[in-house]
């Protein structure tokens, strides 16, 4: 496994169409699983007011921030309108042996 692919735990700890938190070296990330079983990763804090996205709501490929309902497309990180105006950083994800690997750095 390449040095910057980080083990993010079991893939099926995330329910279909849901989000889960992941922390690495003091930084928070959000991991997503779509209804059709694809996985994605973004920064864990909303770009609007640094709220944890892992407490938010997933609908399709949209993550909604739990505090102010800012929306992002987690497949691209694109902010989908106020109060989310700045895009989220995204990270490559792969599943191997039932585990999620996130490419960071």
């Amino acid at each position: 496994m390449s040095a910057n692919w980080i083990d993010a735990g079991l893939a099926d700890r995330i329910s279909p169409e849901d989000v889960a938190p992941f922390e690495h070296q003091g930084r928070q990330y959000a991991l997503y699983r779509t209804a059709d079983g694809r996985y994605f990763a973004t920064d864990g804090l909303c770009t609007h007011e640094q709220v944890e996205l892992a407490d938010g709501f997933v609908q399709g490929t949209i993550i909604e921030c739990p505090m102010h309902n800012g929306r992002f497309d987690f497949t691209t990180g694109e902010a989908k309108g106020a109060p989310a105006c700045v895009d989220l950083a995204t990270y490559p994800v792969k599943v191997e042996g039932g585990r999620l690997w996130v490419k960071l750095g």
Binding site: E49, Q59, P66, P83
Partner: protein
């Protein structure tokens, strides 16, 4: 008179704003009750059906009451229809503005946005300004110097509250804001919560609003009748009283500067008509704890977390039995507030029952 009679600065650009930041009360971590992710996910699930149904009923009631008011115009028979029309226009729009602003009422985004725009106009709120203002209200609920939506300071501004029974003070601020924004400028306070990227929308919307009001005034002059304004514009004033009646129950008289919505918000049981007009915002503690949960799921959320929350008020009358004496006492002692009691077994508040800052 309290020995520590201190009048605080409620503006967002004064010394209290700096103190709130220094005290760690700005953009802070708030109390969150115990509930499983699975329960929360189910409660957050969006639907179009309830809000489509309620919006169709609302629009139909507006058309029927406004139509009958129009039909009977010139006689006393028009009065009850305009009373109903006014409440639907000037008060029910408040909760539609609110829920669609959160984009939780409907599952479909454009439906939320369309109803939000219409409701904003009815309730005298510029859409972009109030979207950002409400965002701050949720970040810093009833934090002095941070929350732009504190309905009245301590000691209470009774005159403003009375004027706003018919949104008179609100209307003056709103109209001044429209001219300011139409000229391409923001108030100093607004600049603290509206990002630069969103400001052109503010200016554009203000110009559209002014154009609509100009058309209504022209129609009144052309027809030599106030009737056009009775249908568009004035209902924001003569129908606003129920909005204030509901709105004052949300936080008034409760603690300031606490990072726990159970202590600064009220949940009140209301009758079905009130709940329709208010779109379940009577579950206000629950709404603030979990703003992602749609209005139609709030009664279920209430059941899920009620053991962790203070006893709900049985009615709006019961709430006002607490609010009015509290405001009267705050006139003499601004440090006074109503301390909400958490039930035994509830998780403690982050700062206990007392404010984190006085």
């Amino acid at each position: 008179m309290s020995a520590a009679f201190v009048t605080r600065d409620y503006s967002l650009v004064g010394p209290e704003a700096e103190k709130a930041v220094a005290a760690g009360l700005a953009s802070a971590k708030w109390y969150s009750p115990p509930i499983t992710r699975a329960e929360l996910k189910e409660l957050m699930r969006r639907e179009d059906r309830p809000a489509i149904r309620d919006t169709l009923i609302w629009f139909a009631a507006l058309i029927v009451s406004g139509g009958l008011g129009f039909w009977f115009w010139g006689g006393w028979a028009a009065v009850p229809f305009f009373l109903v029309y006014g409440v639907l226009y000037g008060s029910a729009s408040d909760s539609r503005w609110h829920e669609c602003g959160h984009r939780t009422a409907f599952k479909t985004k454009w439906m939320n946005d369309a109803v939000y725009e219409i409701a904003c106009f009815m309730v005298l709120r510029e859409p972009e300004i109030w979207r950002w203002s409400h965002t701050r209200h949720h970040t810093d609920t009833v934090i002095v110097g941070r929350d732009p939506e504190i309905i009245t300071p301590r000691p209470p501004d009774v005159l403003s509250l009375l004027l706003n029974v018919f949104s008179l003070k609100t209307a003056v601020i709103f109209v001044r804001g429209l001219f300011l924004h139409a000229a391409g400028r923001l108030r100093e306070e607004e600049a603290t919560f509206v990002p630069a990227s969103e400001r052109p929308k503010v200016y554009r919307t203000a110009r559209v609003y002014l154009a609509i009001y100009a058309l209504v005034i022209l129609a009144c002059v052309y027809f030599r009748s106030i009737l056009p304004a009775m249908l568009i514009g004035l209902p924001s004033l003569y129908g606003a009283w129920l909005q204030l009646y509901f709105g004052c129950t949300q936080h008034l008289g409760l603690a300031e500067d606490v990072l726990d919505h159970r202590l600064n918000s009220r949940t009140i049981y209301m009758n079905p008509i009130f709940r329709f007009l208010y779109w379940n915002m009577n579950y206000h503690v629950e709404h603030h704890l979990f703003p992602l949960i749609p209005y139609h799921a709030l009664p279920r959320l209430h059941q899920a977390i009620k053991a962790d929350c203070p006893e709900p008020y049985p009615s709006t009358i019961a709430a006002y039995r607490e609010i009015i004496p509290a405001l009267a006492r705050q006139l003499k002692d601004p440090s006074y507030y109503v301390k909400r009691e958490l039930p035994s077994g509830a998780r403690p508040a982050p700062f206990g029952a007392a404010p984190a800052r006085t």
